[in-house]
Symmetry: C2
Amino acid sequence: MDLILLVPLAGIVGLIFVGILSRWVIKQDPGTPRMQEIASFIQQGANAFLRREFQTIALFIVVIAVLLLIFLEWQIAFGFVMGAVFSLLAIFIGMNVATRANVRTSSAARTSAGRALTIAFRGGSVMGLSIVSLNMLGILLLMWLFGVGPDDPEAVSLLVGFGFGASLSALFAQLGGGIFTKAADIGADLVGKVEAGIPEDDPRNPAVIADLVGDNVGDCAGRGADLFESGADNVITTMIVAASPIFFSKYGWVGVLFPLVARAIGVLATLVGVFLVRGRDEGNPTMAVNTGFLGTALTCLVLFYGVARWMMHDLGLFYAQILGLVGAIATVLVVQYYTGAHGRPVRETARYAQSGPALGILTGFSYGMESTVWAKYILGLVILLSWLMGGGGLEGIYYIAAATMGIKEMKGIIMAGDTFGPIADNSAGISQMAGLSGETRKAGDALDAVGNVTKALAKGYAMSCATMGSLVILFAYLFEIARLQGIQLTKLNDFWVNITNPANICGLFFGIATPYLFSALTLRSVNDGAFKMVEEVRRQFREIPGLMEGKATPDYARCVDITTANALRKMLAPTLISMVIPIVVGFILGPWALAAYLVGVKASSAALSKALFNTGGTLDNAKKLIEEGHFGGKGTETHAASVIGDTFGDPLKDTAGPSLHILVKLQNIMSITLLPLFIQYGLNLFQ
Amino acid sequence: MDLILLVPLAGIVGLIFVGILSRWVIKQDPGTPRMQEIASFIQQGANAFLRREFQTIALFIVVIAVLLLIFLEWQIAFGFVMGAVFSLLAIFIGMNVATRANVRTSSAARTSAGRALTIAFRGGSVMGLSIVSLNMLGILLLMWLFGVGPDDPEAVSLLVGFGFGASLSALFAQLGGGIFTKAADIGADLVGKVEAGIPEDDPRNPAVIADLVGDNVGDCAGRGADLFESGADNVITTMIVAASPIFFSKYGWVGVLFPLVARAIGVLATLVGVFLVRGRDEGNPTMAVNTGFLGTALTCLVLFYGVARWMMHDLGLFYAQILGLVGAIATVLVVQYYTGAHGRPVRETARYAQSGPALGILTGFSYGMESTVWAKYILGLVILLSWLMGGGGLEGIYYIAAATMGIKEMKGIIMAGDTFGPIADNSAGISQMAGLSGETRKAGDALDAVGNVTKALAKGYAMSCATMGSLVILFAYLFEIARLQGIQLTKLNDFWVNITNPANICGLFFGIATPYLFSALTLRSVNDGAFKMVEEVRRQFREIPGLMEGKATPDYARCVDITTANALRKMLAPTLISMVIPIVVGFILGPWALAAYLVGVKASSAALSKALFNTGGTLDNAKKLIEEGHFGGKGTETHAASVIGDTFGDPLKDTAGPSLHILVKLQNIMSITLLPLFIQYGLNLFQ
């Protein structure tokens, strides 16, 4: 039982290292005045965006908190606010260090490629550590406040507010950031690269700062909020499952604490990994990062073995965790095959681009759709096997949760690697804009390439997390129905989500359709922003004399402003829709049909998001392959075709795809939160 | 009970009119020798394709029939062969008349636009009538052969072989035809229109005949086989539902005959509609076609009222049918809004094309995804309401089947309108190639425009049919499990497809993924064919001297050959995959998980196919809008961007989208057919 002390300990140690690493990063040399000036533009833009975004979110948080207070317990409302605040705090810390690490990475790259890598990775790990630590501490704090303990295990249900708050702010952050980053990116590319023929990150391009800001608010803050919420949701829902009579009688209170302890292990293992990543001036930078990942994974395995054996007294949970980890690695490999620069899909996509953009896009799109199948099969098998390892039936569900924990252990280090991506990307941009030497830029580009790998890895990983995690959330939802309706669960078929009931079929249909609507709205938001950006950049080129010759400075701030306004306005509709639909289904079709709805959303989102992701990834790397000199290389018709393909694929990969994960989790956790209302006030016509 | 005589009567009358209309069409003037020559090229190409396609199908049919004979009853094997043969016979008749009607339509258009319309529509109605008549007669013949009657109502299960055979040949026909038509179309356009800058249907383009052949083997034969199978599946599965004890005790034998009688009504109503369509030289051609549709709908309503009242003694079934019809019309309106030439989606897609192809495609794609939601909502409501009208519970299922029948009544006339499309399209092509006067071509283009409307209508309609129809098939599957396992059904929850069972979740996951794999393979097949075609056309332009100047004839036959070979080879993999997956799921995860799989396939296909369809339709009409002179009109960058969008969208709309419908139905009906084997030999580990 003393292992539980690990939890606050790991959280506090994690936060201490957030402080240490931040100070270490900030102490590094920020480079020439020109570099500092560019970096401050990015910082200001990113902070301005985050401030305005937080204001919008705050408004929603307040309104919803009041409603929760009126209709549900005060703990739910309180937890909701805290979930949102902790989530925003974590990404605020993480992004602020990231926007300082970028220029310091550039500066270090002038003398030592190895040091540049270390700075970028440590900068990224601030995000990773602050997310996992704050996540854990927040939940712990609430447990203490609400008096959740072994005497009343089912009181863990009061924690769902924290997950709901984290989910809502994550959806806003990912949507807002995702719309911002791609609108800026496409806008910058369409006029800069295609029309004006100037290179990427050229200081003459008015949209270039907006583009660099986008890396931070989208890839960095957006993904951070995503992982914060998936962590919170996963811990809380696993606790709900563990607190249900069937598992509480088997494992007792340690079963409920298990997910928290597992998370604490993750924090410690992440620390080990972070300090293993040390760049060397000679040697492969990918290797340095991989050492960190490997170190974390091994530390996790060893500690998890101990927990399964001496705390849970059930070694099977350890094997389930290994299974989850293997499944996660397998899905990452699938992503790498389909979007990797030298696999068949990317090569074929580049080859077909020789017949014009349409066939290229079709090829990329078809491989993206195909990739979804293998990921589904792998995760389907992980679910099935872990369930069987747990003896099947109702009892096997705890093993599915354990497998999910296995996947989630790596969250901190993966997020560090993911944030490393935009830092390296920004750093390359700053070097280019500040006109640093070719040598420095080459070192920066090498880092950027590593960043692309870690970003792709993070996406594959996030997919597995989301699919498995949302399954656990679903079970938590079902256990909650049972608890609230006083149903004695003894076997799996005591859950009445019969898919042959037309009300449930309806729920499933609606659920499967929702991700399509959501993606459609998201993509059009990017389109709108990009269109406005194109017009603004064209205007500046036209109206500011001497801009093309490099004699005048473009109005960077205006581009940032336009994109910010668009992103913040356009993130509202998808968010509202994703909140309204489950509420309508819950009240009219009832809680069981809502379960079918949630299954539909989950399954459809998982499939669609993978297809969108990998279509974007394949098209992106097909372009890069051509730029490396294959199929004619840069400047050919084939290259132009691949650029069109990449522009099409970018918002699929960076806006629509990632937002779908959060959609699923938000709808799930919100449904659990509001479940008492559906049961009490719902029409319940159809069961 | 005497109403049952309607069935053979309507079938025979239908076939007699197939003969009369065919003779009438063939007696029309086939035009100048040049026109006849072109038409004979098309005819030869289409027939050669069909012959080779039939050979491939025959091989499969024989092998599978032998397997069925070994493992199941002889009736299943016999019905299987008959289903395949009748389906191929119907599309053979229909396509042969269509490839004669095209040139006669061109010829008539020289003097009378009205007469041209009448010829084209009557040519199309041969397909519509031969499908519905042969369908009905085939089933009737088998019932008589197998001795299915009131004494042993559950023997209707022996009819599933017919549906399986029809489904398999439909999948081949739709896939082969769909791959052929789009590969030829894209190939012809990419080199002809884009590279060489010659107009559409120019006789100098070596791929032009292949393109015109494609209209026949894809739009005409492919869609025909689709509707033949969906008719067969629907009648048979509704009969299985009606023969289950719960409904047999309520409605008796007439309940089993009900779907056949409804189909007979459809045949008679189609005849009424066909003869109402009379083109006038002045006046709106769309109006003439609409008169036919309206006539059919009204006739159906009146007769259906009679059947519900005096045969079934349950007027509620009539209201359910009206509900189904309203639902079908609503989904067609959704399609028209999203893909209609002057709605907001098409206009916006064209507007964004001003910023290049990527944003245009993104816009079209996003509207396509959005459209799927409304169709799902509408059909979800139809299911829910018709079920409630029938009193909910298990009994409400018969009403869902009645609503589905309501939708399906219009099949014949819709198919006539759909086949009218490629005839008009072909006719316009022939007029262009034969160098007919501008006046004639204008009349032809007007017909072509009407054809585009009827084709779009047929697609929206086919979607509703497929979604609703596959739901009935699902229930038939479940009733079959109950029958084979001796389960007494008294309430809906006696079906154990609990979606919280991980084995069922797995099945659902796999089901949701399958359409992605299938679409991916299909799209790449088109890509391959188009790529080969592009190379061949480039080669002919390069190697045949005087071709561009119009002094030499291109080698049309070689283009047809290349596309035929590609289509026939590429239709195999998707077909095999779609047969293997449910068999594996059925044997390993068991029949209930297979039900979850089928629900997943159905729901996912319905969503994905609508998205693919409407994306293609929106992009197509955005191009047309620009060609009408909006946003700069022909020859601008915007137009070029929209052409790229159209090329991307075409295979989504005409190959991947429509094949998905058949995938769903084939997997469903095959699962019913093989169900006894799954129950007997399956592992059954997981329930």
